[in-house]
């Protein structure tokens, strides 16, 4: 049985997906990347192997992706997260045409054609506005766990306006909103809409085509998902585990390359 592994080494989290010879997911792992990407990649693969009851010797092919893709020591190949997210999303939602991926330090919108093929894409530039890191800083400013942010969105009666796109300025804006007497939930809703505002410009550049899938850690925040849905007036489809979409795509490509090599 050909076991293939996709590893997505992101700026905040490292994700691993293991597929069997039939392309079925045997296991996956998500862990913080920390400061030592090579170690994180090794550990994440180890964790996923353990969950699947496999050993390193069982692996036929490893494909690395994400910003730290060069740190996957045993990788047979590397592919960008753009291609991997597209392939992963197309596997989970075959009729997907747009992927919105918001990860730890970057956000991207990917246009998808037939067979998960990337037609065009836009990524954020050097600024981390509207990314997972932005959300983390905002959670700290609100003194809530990041997981609570989504729930707070739905408790909001009247969202506060968070106009700043800059992570640093948005943090000070949150503090002044508190000073003005705005409620925590309303500020959380404002933050979600600030992220959505950042994303819709990118969606506009790529061109919105349904079905739209959202991936990445920020997709776990139901408030942000809803805010984006409201702005683009389109339903977003979120996988059960949105963080592993890139690693899944990497594993799918690994599987194809294995077949080509063997064939």
């Amino acid at each position: 049985m050909a076991i293939v592994v996709g590893v997505d080494v992101g700026s905040l989290c490292t994700k691993t997906v293991i597929l069997d010879g039939d392309g079925e997911i045997l296991s996956y792992d998500i862990m913080r990347s920390g400061h030592y990407y090579k170690g994180a990649a090794d550990e994440s693969i180890e964790n996923a192997l353990k969950s699947a009851g496999l050993k390193k010797g069982n692996i036929s092919y490893i494909l690395g992706t994400g910003y730290g893709r060069g740190a996957v020591a045993r990788a047979d190949a590397e592919v960008t997260e753009i291609t991997c997210h597209a392939r992963g999303a197309a596997r989970l939602f075959p009729d997907v045409h747009t992927v919105i991926d918001i990860g730890g330090q970057d956000s991207k919108v990917i246009g998808i054609g037939d067979n998960g093929r990337v037609t065009n894409f836009v990524m954020n530039d050097k600024c981390a506005a509207g990314t997972g890191r932005f959300l983390e800083v905002m959670a700290l400013a609100l003194s809530v766990d990041i997981e609570e942010m989504g729930d707070l969105f739905f408790a909001s009666k009247k969202k506060a306006d968070v106009s700043s796109m800059c992570t640093v300025f948005a943090e000070s804006e949150v503090i002044s909103l508190f000073a003005q007497g705005h409620k925590k939930a309303d500020i959380a809703a404002g933050i979600a809409h600030a992220i959505a505002r950042r994303i819709i410009g990118m969606v506009g550049q790529v061109g919105l085509r349904e079905k739209v899938v959202m991936s990445g850690g920020v997709a776990k925040n139901a408030g942000v998902v809803r805010a984006i849905e409201e702005r683009i007036e389109t339903r977003l489809f979120v996988p059960l585990e949105p963080q592993i979409v890139g690693a899944l795509g990497a594993a799918i490509i690994a599987s194809e390359r294995m077949s080509t090599t063997i064939g």
């Binding site: 910003y67 590397e78 592919v79 960008t80 997260e81 753009i82 291609t83 970057d106 093929r117 990337v118 037609t119 065009n120 894409f121 836009v122 990524m123 530039d125 050097k126 550049q205 061109g207």
Partner: protein, 419 residues
């Protein structure tokens, strides 16, 4: 097995550096010899050359600073003096140099230029006005602003051509006569245009070698070789340089030598926007190992697509026609519609696989409509593109990992379309 791609360096391009260095050394020492100095932005430097002034062109100085690795330290001086990092890095570079001299801040001596007796500010964009205003206000430079509007459509060209021509005749030439204290030297301008015509025709013959599959050279070589049609305009050494380059390219064709070893390129690319002067090597090291060659671009194409139209017998008229004439329509190619037409032709002529849209963070005018242009061209020709953010010289605007990912992604997109 993965192919190990490697650049086949051209020998002739090594010969450009002494020419360039001499130009800048002459400019640096001009005042010591009692010569007048001009600075220019836009196509006005030819008037200074015709009057025997030493002159530099805004982008040329940026390219030179990039080449000698002085850009960063000069930009830092500008920022220290209060220039905002978001403003045009060409502007900041000149302000930084001026401030370094005025305040006695040590910078690379090769980057220090004498302040000009006249600055001709060809206003192609709003920042050019600030640039000229800054030079006047901060350093007391005499500034002659002229307007160089961009045409939206071909129909705009005749009236803009007339407007620009009248500025040349009624404002630019009289001002140079006043500054230099002598009548304008039309004969010298004609001679400069004769040499330019010869050099540019040779250069365009070299440009044809980009059509070869595999290509015989890269746009980076072309960028390095820009000076003879740019600030070395009128220098006969440019003819010798391009004759030699043409011979080397012909020899490569005869012997089947590609721009990159072992067997030529895997990806043939277009480059939009400015050339990243300070980062040519950085980008080259990202392209070549992937088997990618950048073959053509909008900015290098500007020098000069139709040199056969140059008429040295009517120098001022011809100079206006070169930029704004209906036949040459050079400036039209910088409008969104013109850009689409130009790139469409390049896609066909140069068998391009992808478009790299270099988006300079500090030069909005060059980036306008890039996403729309990319979209239209993809729909029409099925050629993917990617926007790569960066800057001509400011490394603060460059993110290595992000550039790497974007370039890798377009290579993957091209691969997937081929399958």
């Amino acid at each position: 097995m993965d192919v190990k791609y490697k650049i086949n360096r051209l020998q002739t391009t090594n010969e450009i550096r002494p020419l360039v260095d001499k130009h800048w050394a002459d400019l640096r020492t001009a005042k010591e010899r009692g010569e007048l100095v001009a600075w220019a932005s836009g196509p006005s430097f030819i008037f200074a050359y015709a009057m025997g002034m030493k002159c530099h062109f805004m982008a040329g100085y940026a390219a030179y600073c990039g080449g000698i690795g002085a850009g960063e330290e000069v930009l830092k001086v500008a920022e220290m003096a209060g220039d905002l990092p978001e403003t045009c890095s060409y502007h900041r570079l000149h302000m930084g140099m001026g401030e370094a001299v005025a305040r006695g801040i040590p910078i690379n001596p090769q980057a220090i230029l004498p302040m000009p007796d006249l600055m001709v500010a060809g206003r192609l964009c709003p920042e050019m006005s600030h640039y000229a205003e800054g030079l006047h206000r901060r350093f007391g430079v005499r500034v002659l602003p002229i307007d160089l509007p961009g045409p939206y459509s071909m129909e705009d060209l005749p009236r803009i051509r007339e407007f620009v021509y009248r500025q040349f005749k009624e404002v630019v030439i009289p001002t140079f006569e006043e500054v230099c204290g002598k009548p304008f030297d039309y004969d010298r301008m004609s001679e400069i245009l004769r040499v330019l015509k010869e050099v540019a025709i040779l250069r365009n013959k070299c440009w044809e070698f980009f059509k070869d599959k595999p290509s015989r050279w890269t746009l980076w070589d072309y960028g390095v070789s820009i000076a003879p049609v740019f600030y070395l305009m009128g220098n006969p050494a440019g003819v010798t340089y391009y004759e030699k380059l043409l011979r080397e390219l012909q020899e490569r064709r005869e012997k089947g030598i590609p721009a990159i070893a072992p067997d030529g390129e895997k990806y043939r690319l277009y480059w939009d926007g400015w050339l990243p002067w300070a980062f040519l090597g950085k980008f080259m090291r990202k392209f070549i190992p992937n088997g990618a060659v950048v073959l053509c671009g909008r900015y290098p194409w500007e020098f000069f697509p139709h040199p056969e139209l140059i008429d040295p017998e009517h120098p001022v008229e011809s100079w206006a026609d070169l930029y704004y004439g209906m036949e040459s329509h050079l400036t039209y190619s910088f409008s969104p519609k013109g850009t689409i037409n130009l790139i469409g032709e390049l896609i066909k002529d140069y068998s391009l696989d992808g478009l790299i849209m270099f988006s300079s963070k500090t030069c909005r005018v060059m980036n306008l409509a890039q996403p729309e242009v990319m979209d239209v061209l993809d729909k029409k020709y099925g050629i993917p593109g990617v926007i790569v953010e960066g800057d001509m010289i400011d490394s603060a605007m460059i993110s290595d990992a992000q550039i790497e990912t974007r370039l890798q992604a377009i290579f993957e997109m091209i691969d997937s379309r081929r399958r």
